[in-house]
């Protein structure tokens, strides 16, 4: 901590305000580019001659809030790498939180601060290409190797003596939520930083950057989706696992249907059958000489289903079409409530001596319907989560209600799920 003060540049006499606290070691004159040592009688250490000042949206002296802390830009370094790419790092100072960095590269803005709780001894003894673990996340080395940053330009205050051409070896380890851990090795030090990409518009607004100076990197839909997923990477993963677990359970259940009847008929017959579960569907499978027989299903005196080779009656409607004349089998799926039913088989072709096989199973899942339904739910959840900011817990509840609702024909559950979704969306 220290007081703000101002000095005159010993080379060009320009007034220079020193605002960055007691750790500041050098200030580089914005006019003549002399690097002045604040610890040694304002001696000129070097000069950034004939350098072109890069055009960037930020300037020394700007103030703004990042992570609810007010920061002042006190220094500026431009680095370049082996490929010639350049980026700016602005030294930020806060009287409460000390020093941090605002990094700017072609419209992408990040906030970086030093961390001390990563065990660098372990890293030094290990292999740099291995992932590193920090707090609750793991970070993977980007591009599989380190790179060199070379100082190209300096302005304002810095907490060390920086000269043009100074090299720093950097290892960038990329983690989730657009966070990166960077290990920097210079001639004298080994330091670790955690960097998080920020919303460029929010930073520009906070630092009051003029509209004409603002640069925001344009991103394609895939980039945006990738970032959204990165921001919430763990949450959709849990959701997708939950949905696929539910799908897996459904498929297992589809093989565990309850057989109600399996019999061959060659004359008029009546059978009483009992449906014990109204979950999912009841399947009536007909095989053999199906053209020569008709099938009726009654619950008490009420006719539920009638089918022969020319017409179908179901749900109070009669359709004048059933199976084709060459068909040797038919599968009928209907939704039946629990209870006792009467099955009537009638021979409509008196001269046939062939039989018809009837198999009835309850609790049947039609994967043909369930799979697209699951895919639709999955798309709906991903869309809701990314674009509507519905929390994962809400999404999971909605998915559970919808699945249970469909499974057990409880339209009320589906309705509750939809109401809950729209309430959450509105919050």
């Amino acid at each position: 901590m220290s007081k703000f003060y101002s000095i005159k540049c010993p080379n060009c006499s320009a007034p220079l305000a020193v605002i960055g606290g007691g750790r500041v070691q050098t200030i580089t004159c914005a006019y003549c580019k002399s690097v002045i040592d604040l610890n040694d009688n304002y001696k000129i250490l070097s000069q950034f001659k004939n350098v072109v000042v890069p055009q960037v949206p930020f300037k020394i002296g700007m103030r703004g809030k990042i992570e609810n802390v007010e920061w002042t830009i006190i220094g500026w370094i431009v680095y370049k790498d082996e490929d010639g790419s350049r980026w700016s790092e602005f030294l930020l100072f806060s009287a409460l939180y000390g020093y941090s960095w605002l990094i700017y590269e072609k419209g992408i803005i990040s906030f970086s601060r030093r961390i001390r709780d990563l065990d660098l001894r372990k890293w030094q003894k290990g292999v740099a290409t291995l992932p590193i673990f920090y707090k609750n996340g793991h970070y993977l080395l980007e591009d599989g190797e380190s790179y060199q940053s070379v100082i190209d330009f300096v302005q304002g205050e810095l907490t060390w003596v920086a000269k043009k051409g100074d090299k720093i070896e950097c290892w960038d380890y990329k983690g989730a939520k657009r966070e990166t851990i960077t290990i920097e090795r210079s001639a004298n030090e080994l330091e670790t930083y955690i960097t998080k990409e920020l919303d460029a518009d929010e930073v520009y607004n906070s630092f009051k950057v003029e509209e004409k100076d603002r640069v925001i990197k344009k991103r394609g839909v895939i980039d945006r989706l990738k970032e959204e997923l990165e921001d919430k990477n763990r949450v959709p993963f849990i959701g997708i696992v939950a949905i696929f677990t539910a799908l897996f359970i459904t498929i297992i259940l589809s093989f565990s249907a309850d057989r109600v009847l399996y019999q061959s008929f060659n004359r008029d017959s009546n059978r009483s059958i009992t449906i014990n579960s109204d979950a999912f569907l009841t399947k009536i499978e007909l095989k053999g000489d199906i053209k020569s027989y008709s099938l009726s299903l009654y619950k008490g005196a009420k006719k539920i289903l009638y089918i022969d080779n020319s017409k179908v009656f179901f749900a109070k409607k009669t359709l004048n079409k059933s199976w084709s004349s060459s068909a040797v089998g038919a599968d009928i799926y209907i939704k039946l409530d629990k209870g006792v039913y009467f099955l009537k088989i009638k021979k409509i072709d008196p001269i046939t001596n062939k039989s018809i096989n009837v198999k009835i199973e309850s609790g049947v899942i039609r994967l043909n319907y369930i799979l697209p339904l699951f895919i639709l739910i999955l798309l709906f959840l991903v869309y809701s989560h990314i674009f509507r900011k519905v929390s994962m817990f809400s999404m999971f509840l909605i998915a559970l209600f919808i699945i249970l609702g469909f499974a057990f024909n409880l339209s009320l559950l589906v309705l509750i799920a939809l109401i809950y979704f729209f309430m959450k969306r509105g919050q």
Binding site: M1, S94, L96, G98, R116, D117
Partner: protein, 210 residues
């Protein structure tokens, strides 16, 4: 109600300033030094006696994450800042905050422009005997010396569990055994005091009452 403090510190005992008679509530059982807010005297407490040992220099107000009497939480543990000492290192200064922890334990939070370290006094075996032979960057046993310097006390506020004299200097070193670990060894008048702790992230410090 607007000006009422949101937190009332528990009081161990109350004494009167021997200089001006101002009542001085003491909030820590083993407080050794307290500054009278009325006459700015430094009052030394020993057993049942109290004596004025001089004037505490008035510290210029500086922005800080901590305030005396406002409890904070670090890593789910609650601490009550009761006093602070300001040390100078020439062009700047840093502060050592005395925190009362759970079960009346003493903690020190060092704040130096974004570098925060929480330590507690502890006697641990050190792999060296001669403090003055230590060199920055060298390894001694499992420790590396990361910093060696002198500090001058420029003032204090509140109450402290030890005596400090404004203008006194002492030498110190920082030792690290990797990660956030930190051991500070202070050297004064041939005696070493050891403090063990770690660097902490200032963004993790929360106030109990926002």
């Amino acid at each position: 109600m607007k000006n009422q403090p949101i937190y009332q510190m528990p009081i161990e005992k109350t004494i009167n300033c021997p200089q001006c008679g101002h009542p001085l509530p003491i909030h820590f059982k083993w407080t050794k030094l307290v500054e009278c807010p009325a006459c700015k005297s430094s009052i030394f407490l020993e057993d049942e006696s109290v004596k004025v040992i001089g004037k505490a220099s008035t510290l210029s107000p500086e922005p800080s994450l901590l305030n005396i009497g406002e409890p904070i939480i670090i890593d789910k543990r609650e601490y009550l800042p009761l006093g602070k000492i300001r040390y100078s290192y020439g062009r700047g200064f840093w502060e050592e905050w005395f925190l009362k922890g759970e079960s009346n334990r003493v903690f020190w939070l060092s704040i130096d422009e974004g570098d925060f370290a929480l330590e507690k006094p502890m006697n641990i075996p050190l792999p060296f005997k001669d403090f003055h032979s230590l060199q920055v960057g060298k390894e001694y046993g499992k420790y590396v010396v990361t910093e060696k310097d002198k500090a001058e006390c420029v003032g204090f506020e509140g109450e402290l569990p030890r005596e400090v004299v404004v203008g006194d200097t002492y030498e110190y070193i920082h030792l690290s055994k990797g990660g956030a670990s930190l051991v500070t060894v202070e050297y004064k008048d041939g005696k070493m005091s050891i403090f063990v702790g770690e660097w902490i992230d200032p963004f993790t410090i929360k106030k109990v009452y926002e």
